[in-house]
């Protein structure tokens, strides 16, 4: 004896006609704010398509009336950064490199800028970690052919080494001894020179005599080289062209061949100074009072 329900629970809305196991899907109307949101997004899309690049065409997308492009955006940001760094660049160009380390803000700027310059321009030969390779100097160690103060490094970067492009390039030319000394003498010299880091007296024995006659004018009586000529120190543990007998023989018979281009044609003075500061800060840089 149940009373009929007070209200009729049968839905007043039509169904979509879908039915699963007797469960039907009602076709309820959506709320109106939803409709307006949908219209809003459509309007937004139309406006967007007009203003911004949107439709892909054969030769790129439509431009949009604002003329905005990602490339232009990047360009704009680069210009902004350039403008914001103008002061730092100017003061870097003017500063005496010998006292650069007294200005912490400037040195930080130079180190960061120099790192970027190095990665782009120097890492091809010297390696991304600046460890160099056979024939390409390791910039991390404390051995410098032409001097290890910031100003020395900046000069090397500016003018390069052993190149024909820049009259001010650093130039050292060791002769090819294959035309000067017989093979046996070269073999004796190779053994002698390879023993120098071990503490052998550069002028002792048969090798010493050959060394005195042929090498001391550049590398010095003590074998420690001469930076003014770019003559390397032969008594230290660092061998630019390798320390195996074959490598040393080759450099004596043929002479060195490494070339570094001048960078003043491609880098600004600020960039050169920045990269010099960066290289100087890699662990081997020398301070104004040269240690020997």
């Amino acid at each position: 004896m149940t009373k009929p329900p007070k209200t009729d629970d049968t839905p007043k809305v039509e169904t979509t006609g879908h039915s699963w196991d007797g469960i039907e899907e009602l076709n309820n109307p959506l709320p109106r704010w939803w409709l307006w949101t949908l219209y809003g997004t459509i309007v937004f899309a139309v406006v967007y398509v007009i203003l911004y690049p949107a439709w892909p065409m054969v030769n790129g997308a439509t431009k949009g009336v604002l003329g905005w492009s990602t490339r232009g955006d990047v360009q704009m940001h680069i210009e902004e950064v350039d403008a914001s760094q103008a002061d730092m660049r100017a003061s870097l160009t003017e500063t005496d490199l010998g006292v650069l380390d007294r200005n912490p803000e400037l040195i930080e700027f130079a180190m960061n800028a120099g790192a970027a310059v190095f990665r782009t321009n120097c890492s091809q030969c010297h390696g991304s970690g600046a460890a160099g390779a056979v024939g390409y100097p390791n910039l991390l160690d404390d051995d410098w052919l032409w001097g290890g103060m910031v100003e020395d490094i900046a000069y090397t970067v500016r003018h390069g080494i052993r190149n024909e492009d820049d009259p001010d390039a650093r130039f050292s030319q060791m002769p090819a001894f294959s035309e000067i000394l017989p093979k046996e003498d070269i073999a004796t010299l190779v053994d002698h020179i390879r023993s120098l880091p071990g503490g052998t007296d550069p002028l002792a024995g048969a090798g010493g005599q050959l060394f005195l006659d042929n090498c001391t004018s550049c590398h010095g009586d003590d074998g420690r080289g001469d930076r003014t000529q770019g003559a390397p120190n032969l008594t230290d543990a660092i061998w630019l062209y390798g320390d195996s007998p074959e490598q040393v023989t080759r450099i004596i018979t043929r002479g060195p061949y490494g070339v570094m281009p001048p960078w003043n044609t491609r880098l600004s003075e600020a960039e050169i100074r920045a990269v010099a500061a960066y290289v100087h800060g890699l662990g081997g840089g020398e301070m104004p009072t040269p240690q020997d």
Partner: protein, 502 residues
């Protein structure tokens, strides 16, 4: 079903909740006052951290990547504290939902709190339910424009205060307030305020229940977290039905009370809930006065049974309790009930008190998880060091041979000084190390780290020619940092690569 094409879209049916008073309404006033006070006032609290740091008690300093919460300071690498708090908030929500259903929605959700606040304004300007309904239907007279204009203006002021308060959490509040007034604040501040003002105004003033019904994901998630033992707002249909007033009450007849809560909801068998369909003698306690419907901010009738739109704000309980008092019946025709209570009480069983429902194993497990995370966070907070370092060996190249034959390794060391003043940190290699230590760009091994900052330095360890570390493949090395003021020490173990590592 009619043949006329049905509208694709349905207009919102405006809701004019009536004012109600009672226990739950009072509770909600308090919660509203406290949550709003916390929200608006927190950025203005000060907390002295010394001259180098901001003195705002709660500050999210995006630019410097710091979170300040009173005496706690969170660095980016400690973000797990924030993640932990969020996990706790999540588990806490599980706990409360399993215990009390959509209690978050009904009491603490900003949508509910701000809608409540907007309703207070609306009621204050336009009057209670009937007056507002009349006004709604009235043509646009000067009076209506004035009343509506006043309401909307007040809403807008509240909305702007809401958006305005938000930005104060992200920078020094008094300073930003000054900038905002003098129109010199950063554009992002104005944009943020504008967006939050707009959302507050629209959501609190016009969207209201539609946010809960259509937009918010919480109701769905919370619905899945409830079980038959969860307390929720429900109508004791076995007591109320058959409803009616006056003569119809007299004519009330026998009827069927179902196992569901609510008289008209479809009969859905619930797993674990026995079917206790019984015949009940009428008339019921419900006088069909519609008080419960009129106060409902969601515009629903709780007597239809549990339904998705109900945010369990409990206002209908207050409304019905008042009616029951007037007609001299016991309170609680609408009440906090568990789904599993319905068949038991309908069959004449005793009411189970709320705390018994709360002590379910599931809730206790949630509570245990919540407490465990909390305890872990608190202990992590107390044991975290004031100085820290990370050491990354430079592997490009692995080592450098120096002109005297010694071997040098480089390490990128990050030093963190969490003290509120600059400290001189002294770096050392482990006592058993033969390697000499240098810091690039510094004389000696002392580095000054600014207050509350992190500093990256390049560290060199140089092993003499022929020494064991220089000649071997790699050997362990310990790098120490010592705060020269407090003597605090920290260390990191790393590796030294020798010539054999090539």
């Amino acid at each position: 079903m009619s043949d006329a094409p049905q509208n694709l879209y349905a207009a919102r049916v405006p809701i004019f909740p009536r004012r109600v008073s009672g226990y739950f309404r009072r509770l909600k006033w308090w919660i509203m006052a406290i949550t709003l006070a916390i929200y608006y006032l927190t950025p203005w609290l000060r907390w002295d951290r010394g001259p180098n740091l901001p003195d705002q008690a709660v500050l999210v300093d995006m630019a410097n990547r710091r979170f300040y919460v009173f005496w706690i300071e969170i660095w980016p690498h400690e973000f797990y504290f924030v993640a932990g708090l969020l996990v706790m908030a999540g588990v806490g929500l599980f706990l409360f939902t399993a215990m009390l259903g959509r209690v978050w929605c009904g009491y603490a959700c900003p949508q509910t709190v701000w809608t409540d606040l907007f309703l207070v304004i609306e009621r204050w300007v336009q009057g209670d339910r009937n007056a507002r309904m009349r006004l709604h239907q009235a043509p646009w007279t000067v009076r209506k424009i004035r009343l509506m204009g006043t309401t909307w203006t007040l809403w807008l002021i509240v909305a702007m205060a809401t958006g305005g308060a938000w930005v104060f959490y992200f920078t020094d509040a008094p300073e930003l307030a000054r900038q905002l007034v003098t129109l010199s604040a950063p554009p992002i501040a104005y944009v943020t305020i504008a967006i939050l003002t707009a959302t507050t105004f629209v959501f609190g003033g016009f969207m209201r229940e539609q946010i809960c019904i259509y937009m918010c994901p919480w109701p769905r998630i919370q619905g899945a977290m409830m079980d038959p033992g969860t307390l929720t707002v429900a109508y004791r249909d076995w007591r109320g039905e058959p409803r009616g007033r006056g003569l119809r009450r007299q004519a009330a007849d026998l009827r069927v009370a179902g196992p569901q809560i609510g008289g008209r909801a479809p009969l859905i068998p619930m797993p674990g809930v026995p079917d206790t369909t019984t015949n009940v003698q009428g008339p019921g306690d419900c006088v069909d006065c519609n008080a419960c419907v009129n106060v409902c901010p969601m515009g629903i009738d709780i007597r239809d049974g549990q339904q998705m739109a109900c945010i369990t704000c409990a206002l209908c309980i207050d409304a019905c309790d008042q009616v029951m008092e007037k007609i001299g019946r016991p309170r609680g025709l609408i009440d906090y009930l568990a789904l599993s209570d319905a068949p038991r009480e309908a069959a004449g069983g005793a009411h189970i008190p709320a705390w018994k429902h709360a002590l379910k194993p599931r809730n206790l497990i949630y509570l245990a998880i919540w407490l465990a995370i909390g305890a872990a966070l608190v202990s992590a907070l107390f044991i975290r060091p004031q100085i820290e370092l990370t050491v990354a060996p430079v592997r490009n190249p692995t080592f450098v041979t120096l002109s005297d034959g010694s071997v040098r390794n480089a390490y990128d060391v990050r030093l963190r000084n969490k003290h509120h003043d600059a400290r001189v940190f002294n770096l050392q290699a482990g006592a058993d190390s033969t390697a000499a230590l240098q810091v690039e760009g510094h004389d000696g091994a002392n580095v000054t780290v600014p207050a509350d900052a992190q500093m990256k330095v390049r560290l060199y360890l140089t092993a003499p020619a022929g020494s064991a570390p220089a000649a071997s493949d790699n050997s362990p090395v310990r790098i120490w940092v010592e705060d020269t003021v407090s003597g605090e020490r920290a260390h990191v173990d790393s590796t030294f690569n020798g010539k054999d590592s090539q």
